[in-house]
Symmetry: C2
Subunit: 353 residues, 2 copies
């Protein structure tokens, strides 16, 4: 006979804590008069059990306030009911919404997300993924990785992977991609429709697939409208507010004429707005400004920013749901909604000279 039934004492004395939640499956079995395996079966639905015993177990579980220990579960069953989520920076206004979507979706199924930050660094992403694997997560969601396709495909052979921000087909992997090209096209088209012909573009980091696609959309729209593309109207940025601010300053210093700016993301557009303000240029009277992503803040800039809506929350939700499907052995098929342009107050027809 074992001595497991000895009540465990709480941390250093203290008042008798209320219903210590450390009840084990074995105790439940004992209380219900069945074997531990039966309790386990009921918990996991692994097999059919007699209604009578099931009732007894359910009652015991409720009475004792039993809650299974995920750690033990993980060791024994190999599943931890947790999935890793590697993002770039946990406090990014862009990824934030996606994280919320992932969390909402996973928790609905009893899974917990394990968030880690990759810091826009492939080596660090690798460490993060290895750490997650060592923690035995059941799967990993990678939001916009720096890591190469082949590295991701390799990981996918070891455990289910959902990646965003790229096209990629591989076994055990599901890729979710937003139509950045179309988004870039829409934003540019909006400015063209207003009558703008000289439209500056603040680009993102060219190592970023999203950024390249958005630029491609910009060029495609110009081409379709018969407006020549001019390299001098393209200013490089890094997707940060400050890089947007500096891009506009360079643009202005170049004395290149333009009546509108399309920024490859909202964060750079925020910086751009400040740079314009500093040069006493008003938005949209002197210069129209449109962004991309529709961050929460875009609604509250002065004036509110016209931008391409990027469904980040849904992106997170869908990524979470896809992971759940992968885990269940199903093949996900959900896709992201198409981009739509939100015209607010930062863009209008160019001023007559």
């Amino acid at each position: 006979m074992k001595t497991k039934t000895v009540a465990r004492v709480g941390r250093k004395g203290g008042a008798a804590a209320q219903a210590d939640t450390r009840v084990t499956l074995e105790q439940v079995a004992l209380a219900a008069g069945v074997s531990p395996s039966t309790v386990s079966r009921i918990l996991n639905g692994t097999a059919v059990v007699a209604d009578e015993k099931r009732a007894a177990v359910d009652e015991a579980i409720a009475r004792l306030g039993f809650v299974p220990n995920p750690v033990a579960r993980g060791l024994a069953g190999g599943r931890t009911l947790s999935v890793g989520v590697v993002t770039q920076t946990i406090d990014s206004p862009f990824f934030g919404g996606a994280l919320r979507g992932v969390e909402d979706e996973l928790s609905r199924a009893g899974y917990s997300p394990l968030f880690v930050s990759g810091h826009w660094n492939a080596a660090h992403e690798t460490r993060c993924i290895d750490m997650l694997r060592s923690r035995r997560v059941d799967g990993i969601i990678v939001l916009t990785a720096r890591l190469g396709d082949s590295a991701l495909a390799a990981y996918a052979q070891q455990l289910p992977l959902v990646v965003t921000g790229r096209q990629l087909k591989a076994p055990g992997l599901y890729a979710l991609n937003f139509d950045n090209f179309e988004g870039g096209r829409l934003a540019t088209q909006h400015l063209l429709d207003l009558g703008h012909r000289r439209i500056a573009f603040i680009a993102g980091d060219p190592r970023h697939p999203d950024a390249k696609e958005r630029l491609r959309g910009y060029r495609a729209a110009l081409l379709a409208a018969g407006v020549p593309f001019e390299q001098d109207l393209v200013a490089p940025g890094q997707y940060t507010e400050d890089s947007g601010r500096m891009a506009v300053e360079r643009l202005l210093d170049s004395r290149e004429a333009f009546t509108a700016i399309f920024s490859a993301n909202d964060q750079m557009a925020f910086g751009a707005a400040l740079a314009l303000h500093r040069r006493h240029l008003r938005v949209p009277d002197d210069v129209s400004l449109v962004g991309f992503d529709d961050l929460a803040g875009a609604l509250y800039t002065v004036p509110p920013l016209s931008t391409v809506h990027h469904p980040v929350y849904e992106l997170g939700q869908i990524a979470g749901a896809a992971m759940l499907q992968l885990l269940a052995g199903e093949q996900p098929t959900a896709r992201l909604p198409p981009p739509r342009f939100i015209a607010r107050e930062s863009s209008r027809e160019p001023r007559q000279r």
Copy 2:
């Protein structure tokens, strides 16, 4: 003899995965010619071992690429090297920085944060904490909870707790509080120094201790300056952009005269700026506007927002470090730096009539 040495096959066939990281402590022991206990001792520094054996084990670990399984560790040792972090919304521009600080600090010591969102709801916070406890986190950091002091103190009897946003002393608990009163006083004083006398205040939710303190600081500064406090100049808000926008609209509709607005947080100040813009009031020429928190976005509003700097990243770092100390049996003593006011361009002396 057990059959553990049988190589485990990867997921459904596939190319022979590179160095399968599933090496066990037992295999290391075997390879090094020592007992598993010795390996464990070396790993944990639990006891002194002969240099010779230590070398052999270190070599075996390196050669086999062994990495301890945290799940098994958690089961056997009772420590999971993970700490729960309950925040309100994972994508909040305010909490984001704190999460980053926590992550940076914890990971430095090999701990992983487990982020969960409480959604500004005491009942949900309780569920989150219970979930974290069931996952056997070693401690919990609670960022600005809705939960009452007594509930937190009770939890602290079960596992180490670090809480922010309140004063509280209890065994096993460390509270970290920012001087919101002084911050509110500083912001108001700044406006008074500029010559403002009719200063509107956009308040936060009064259930929020921070919000009450900031209001108290506002009143204290007025009092010290001999400026009468007027209830009609106080507009309630909920710390969201939209509530700030509506607060200003109500203020303006009330026809109450004011030359400056102090918003209890930056998010509401962002909304306030938009409301002023809509009414064709310029910041700071017509109305001065100051915020509180110094969010990343405050640098890029047009014009940049004068505000009280709230060291959120440091808050996270210190909370993480304090948790580490608690876990090590030490008593944390670190405190938050005092508030400082950052004058930018949204505030200036009132216009002469």
